[in-house]
C-alpha cells in the first residue's frame, strides 16, 4: 500500500490537532489542549480504488515555523498550512511563513486552510480571504466538520498525482 507523509503546520491554537481529530476520529473538543513536538496519526483513504495511507504529522504550533526542527519536514509528501480566521495574528505574515515552508519542502502540494469558519459570518470570512495576497484552498470548521473531509480528500488526490 502507498504511504504518504503530510505535515500540518501553522501557529499555535489554529486547530491543527482538531482538524486531524475530526478527519481521523470524527470528534471535536472545545477545550484547547496544546500539542508539543509531533504526534503522528494514520488514516487510510480510498481514492478512485487506490488505497492510500495518510501519515499525518501534527506538528506543535509555534509563533513562527522557523522555530520548528527542520528534520520534521524530512520526507514530507505534502503540507497543510492552517490559520485561524478569527485571529489576524495567525495570518498576518502568511506569505513569509509559506515561503519559509517551501524552502524546506519543495515540489510538494501545499494547501492553505482558514479554520474556525463557524466563528465568522460569510461576509467577514470572504473579506478576510480577499485581503490575503494568496489563494486560500479551503475554509474549514473542525468543530462542525465543514469542509474537513474535502480538504484531506483533495490532499490525498494531490499526493497520488
Amino acid at each position: 500500500m502507498i504511504s504518504k507523509k503530510v505535515v500540518l503546520i501553522g501557529k499555535y491554537g489554529v486547530g491543527k490537532t482538531s482538524l486531524i481529530q475530526q478527519f481521523v476520529h470524527q470528534r471535536f473538543s472545545e477545550k484547547y489542549l496544546t500539542t508539543i513536538g509531533v504526534k503522528i496519526d494514520k488514516k487510510t483513504v480510498n481514492i478512485n480504488g487506490t488505497e492510500l495511507n495518510m501519515l499525518i504529522w501534527d506538528i506543535a504550533g509555534e509563533s513562527t515555523n522557523t522555530k520548528i526542527p527542520k528534520s520534521y519536514h524530512l520526507g514530507a509528501h505534502g503540507a497543510i498550512y492552517v490559520f485561524d480566521l478569527s485571529r489576524p495574528f495567525t495570518y498576518e505574515n502568511i506569505v513569509t511563513e509559506l515561503n519559509n515552508l517551501k524552502k524546506l519542502i519543495s515540489n510538494v502540494p501545499i494547501q492553505v486552510v482558514g479554520n474556525k469558519l463557524d466563528l465568522l459570518d460569510e461576509k467577514n470570512a470572504s473579506q478576510i480571504i480577499n485581503s490575503l495576497p494568496l489563494e486560500v484552498s479551503f475554509l474549514t470548521s473542525a468543530k462542525t466538520g465543514n469542509n474537513v473531509e474535502p480538504l484531506f480528500q483533495s490532499m490525498a488526490k494531490a499526493l497520488l498525482k
Binding site: 496544546t34 508539543i36 513536538g37 509531533v38 494514520k42 501519515l55 526542527p69 524530512l74 520526507g75 485571529r87
Partner: protein
C-alpha cells in the same frame, strides 16, 4: 558498582537501539523499551513515525544523524514522548537503518503544562491587542471628526470675515448711487448713475450667488439639473456679456465650437454658464491688450458626449508654485490680487468643485507674463431640439382677474407690471391671510403666490384653498426661490411652480398652458382613496358603478319628477346620493341631500327641473373627467357612457 556502570545503567534503561532494513524488518534490537526483535513482519506497521519515513531512508546520506526531538509514540498500550535519532549505517556488511529512541516522557509531560500556559496567555494577549487596535481606530475616527468640525468652523469664520467685506463694498456703492440719484439737479447724470447702479448690483448678485453656491457645495446640497440646451446659444450668451469689458481692455475675445458637437445637449446648463462666466471673466480680468480664446472639442462616449473646454488668455499668468493654491477658497495667486483686480477668491474654487461634482476634470497651465490656459472636461447627454418661442403673449379670454401674493415689493412690482402689460386685472396682497380674505370677496381666475411670506406662507395658504369646497379649482402658480421639498404635494394640488427670480418667459408659458375651467364640479377621488386605503381595484369598481348606474338613476329621477307620488323620487335620491360623495361631487351631494330632506319634510321645492338639469350636467362632466387618462385607473372605455356624457 562503578560510576561508569551506574551511568550506563541509567542511560541504558531509557534508550533503545533498533537496526532495520529499508522494508522495516528488524535486524537487531536491544528491546529496552519496546519488544521489537520478536515482531513478525515490518515494524513500520507498528510505528507510523518510521512508516512515514519509509521512502526517505534510502535517500539519507550515510552515517549522518537526523534528530527528531519530542515525538509522541504509542506501542503496545504505552504512550510517551521520545527523542529519536535516525542514521543510515553499515551493519553486517550491508547498509541498514539505525533508530535510537530516548524516552523523555517525564520531561516532556512537565513541558506540556508550561507550553499550555504560554500559549493560553499568548492567545489572550492577541485578543487584548485587537481590542486595543479597535480602540485606537475609534480614537482616530473621533480625532478625524473633531478636525473636520474644526475645519468647518474655521471655514465659516474665514468665510464670514472675507465675505462681509466683499458684500459691503458693492452695497456701499449702491447706497451712494441711490443717494446721488435722489438729487434733483443731477438729472443729466442719471443715465450714467443707473448704468453704474446696474453694474454694481450685478456684481453684488454674482458675489451672493457665489457665496450661496459655496455654502451649498460645503453642505453637500448642490443639485444638478438635466435640461436640454443649445451649446452655441449658451456660449454666445456668455461671450456676449463680456464684449464690452473685452473692448475696454482691448482684448480680442473669440470662441470656436468643434463641428462634430451636437448643438443640442442635455445637462446642467446653468452650472456650465457659471463655470464659463468665471473662467472667461478671470481671463479678461487678468489680461490687458491681448487675447482670450474659448475652444470646445468633443468625443462621443456611449451615447454621451465628453466635451473638452479650453480657456486661453495672454494675460499676466501665474507662477508655477501658486497654481495649486488658486483653486482653494479665498486664495488668490498674490496677496495683492484682490486689491488690484478685485474678486472674492471664490470663483475658481467653485468652478473646480462644480466640475468635479459633475465627474469632470480641470487642469491649469500658466506661464508668468505669457498667459494662462485652463482645460476642463464635462460629459453631457444628447439633448432635444426645443424651438425657442418668442415672448409674445396671447391673452387668455377666460382669464380676467389675477391675484398676486408677494411680500417683496420689487417682485410684486415686476409680476404686476408684466401681467398688466398682457392685459389682465391684477390685485396684489402681501400675505397668505389676505389671499384667503380676498378670494372670499372677489372672484379670481388665477392666483400667483410666493412661497415665503410672513404669517401664512404659500404652501399653507394653498393647502387651505385646495381643501375648501369653493376654491379647489382655482389655478395656482407658486413662486419660489428655493427647491421645494414637497413637489408631490404640489402635483396633487395641481399647482405649477414658478422659479424666482421670475423669468417672464416661464410665466408666459404657464399662462399659455392654462385651460378654460368648466362650470361643473371637478371630480376628486380623495374620499374614495381614504375609505378604501387607496385600494385601486375597489376605487375602480366604485367609479365604474358611478359611471354606469348614476346616468340610469338620473333618467329614473326625471320620470319620477312627473309623478304625483313623491316617495319614489325621494327613494331614488336617497339611493343615488352616496355615489356623488364617492367621486367628490360634494356640491351635487349637498344639493341632493337638501332636496331629499325637503321632500321628506313635505316642503315645496320650486326649481326641481333646474336642480336635476344642473346635477345631470355635473354628472356628464364628471364622467368625461373620469374617462380621461389622467385618473389612470385603467377603466374600460364605455362608449354608451361617453356618448351620454357628450350629449
Amino acid at each position: 558498582m562503578t560510576l561508569k556502570e551506574i551511568k550506563n545503567q541509567y542511560i541504558q534503561s531509557k534508550s533503545q537501539f533498533i537496526i532495520f532494513d529499508d522494508k522495516g524488518y528488524c535486524l537487531d534490537s536491544c528491546d529496552t523499551l519496546f519488544q521489537f526483535s520478536k515482531l513478525e513482519g515490518s515494524i513500520f506497521i507498528h510505528l507510523p513515525f518510521l512508516e512515514s519515513m519509509e521512502e526517505a531512508f534510502p535517500t539519507l546520506p550515510l552515517n549522518e544523524e537526523f534528530e527528531f526531538p519530542c515525538i509522541n509514540l504509542s506501542f503496545d498500550g504505552t504512550e510517551g514522548y521520545y527523542d529519536i535519532i535516525l542514521k543510515r549505517t553499515s551493519f553486517n556488511d550491508d547498509i541498514s537503518n539505525l533508530c535510537i529512541l530516548q524516552d523523555f516522557t517525564h520531561h516532556y509531560e512537565h513541558l506540556i503544562i508550561l507550553q499550555q500556559e504560554r500559549n493560553d496567555s499568548a492567545i489572550k494577549s492577541e485578543f487584548l491587542e485587537i481590542r486595543e487596535r479597535v480602540l485606537s481606530l475609534e480614537k482616530d475616527l473621533l480625532t478625524f471628526q473633531n478636525d473636520e468640525l474644526k475645519r468647518i468652523q474655521e471655514f465659516k469664520t474665514t468665510f464670514f470675515a472675507q465675505i462681509s467685506h466683499e458684500l459691503r463694498t458693492p452695497l456701499n456703492g449702491i447706497v451712494g448711487l441711490v443717494h446721488l440719484l435722489g438729487f434733483p439737479y443731477n438729472n443729466t447724470k442719471k443715465a450714467e448713475y443707473l448704468q453704474a447702479l446696474s453694474a454694481t448690483s450685478q456684481h453684488l448678485v454674482a458675489i451672493v450667488n457665489n457665496i450661496l453656491d459655496l455654502s451649498k457645495i460645503e453642505s453637500g446640497q448642490l443639485h444638478f439639473e438635466e435640461v436640454d440646451f443649445n451649446i452655441h446659444d449658451l456660449v454666445n450668451d456668455v461671450c456676449q456679456s463680456f464684449v464690452f469689458s473685452a473692448q475696454e481692455k482691448n482684448i480680442l475675445l473669440s470662441h470656436k465650437i468643434a463641428n462634430n458637437i451636437p448643438p443640442h445637449l442635455k445637462g446642467d446648463d446653468t452650472k456650465l454658464k457659471q463655470i464659463l462666466f468665471n473662467l472667461i471673466g478671470n481671463a479678461i480680468k487678468f489680461t490687458e491688450n491681448g487675447e482670450v480664446y474659448l475652444s470646445i472639442e468633443s468625443r462621443e462616449n456611449n451615447g454621451n458626449w465628453d466635451l473638452y473646454f479650453k480657456v486661453k488668455d495672454s494675460g499676466i499668468g501665474i507662477e508655477k508654485d501658486k497654481l495649486e493654491k488658486i483653486f482653494q477658497p479665498f486664495e488668490q495667486a498674490e496677496n495683492n490680487t484682490s486689491k488690484l483686480y478685485g474678486g472674492t477668491g471664490l470663483g475658481l474654487s467653485i468652478v473646480k468643485q462644480l466640475i468635479e461634482l459633475q465627474k469632470g476634470q480641470i487642469k491649469i497651465k500658466s506661464k508668468k507674463e505669457v498667459g494662462t490656459e485652463i482645460e476642463f472636461s464635462l460629459t453631457y447627454g444628447l439633448g432635444k431640439n426645443e424651438e425657442t418661442f418668442e415672448l409674445k403673449h396671447e391673452k387668455k379670454i377666460f382669464l380676467n382677474r389675477i391675484l398676486v401674493a408677494e411680500d417683496d415689493l420689487l417682485s410684486q412690482k415686476i409680476v404686476q407690471e408684466l401681467l398688466k402689460n398682457w392685459g389682465y386685472e391684477v390685485d396684489v396682497v402681501a400675505d397668505g391671510r389676505d389671499v384667503l380674505e380676498n378670494i372670499k370677496h372677489k372672484s379670481y381666475d388665477l392666483l400667483i403666490i410666493d412661497h415665503q411670506m410672513p404669517v401664512l406662507n404659500g404652501m399653507e395658504t394653498i393647502k387651505i384653498i385646495r381643501e375648501s369646497e369653493y376654491f379647489n379649482k382655482l389655478p395656482i402658480f407658486l413662486l419660489s426661490g428655493q427647491d421645494i421639498k414637497n413637489k408631490n404635494l404640489l402635483t396633487e394640488w395641481q399647482v405649477e411652480i414658478l422659479r424666482k427670480p421670475l423669468n417672464p418667459d416661464d410665466l408666459n408659458k404657464l399662462i399659455g398652458n392654462l385651460e378654460e375651467p368648466t362650470d361643473f364640479e371637478v371630480v376628486n377621488l380623495k374620499y374614495l382613496e381614504t375609505i378604501t386605503q387607496n385600494n385601486k381595484i375597489i376605487i375602480k369598481e366604485l367609479v365604474e358603478i358611478f359611471m354606469n348606474k348614476v346616468p340610469v338613476e338620473l333618467e329614473e329621477m326625471a320620470k319620477a319628477l312627473n309623478k304625483p307620488d313623491r316617495e319614489s323620487l325621494k327613494q331614488l335620491i336617497h339611493k343615488t346620493k352616496p355615489n356623488y360623495k364617492y367621486v367628490g361631487l360634494n356640491l351635487a351631494f349637498a344639493a341632493l341631500e337638501k332636496w331629499e330632506s325637503s321632500i321628506d319634510r313635505e316642503l315645496p321645492v320650486n326649481n326641481e327641473v333646474e336642480i336635476l338639469a344642473t346635477i345631470t350636467q355635473t354628472v356628464k362632466a364628471a364622467i368625461a373627467q373620469l374617462s380621461s387618462k389622467k385618473l389612470n385607473l385603467g377603466l374600460k372605455k364605455n362608449e354608451t357612457n361617453l356618448k351620454w356624457a357628450k350629449n
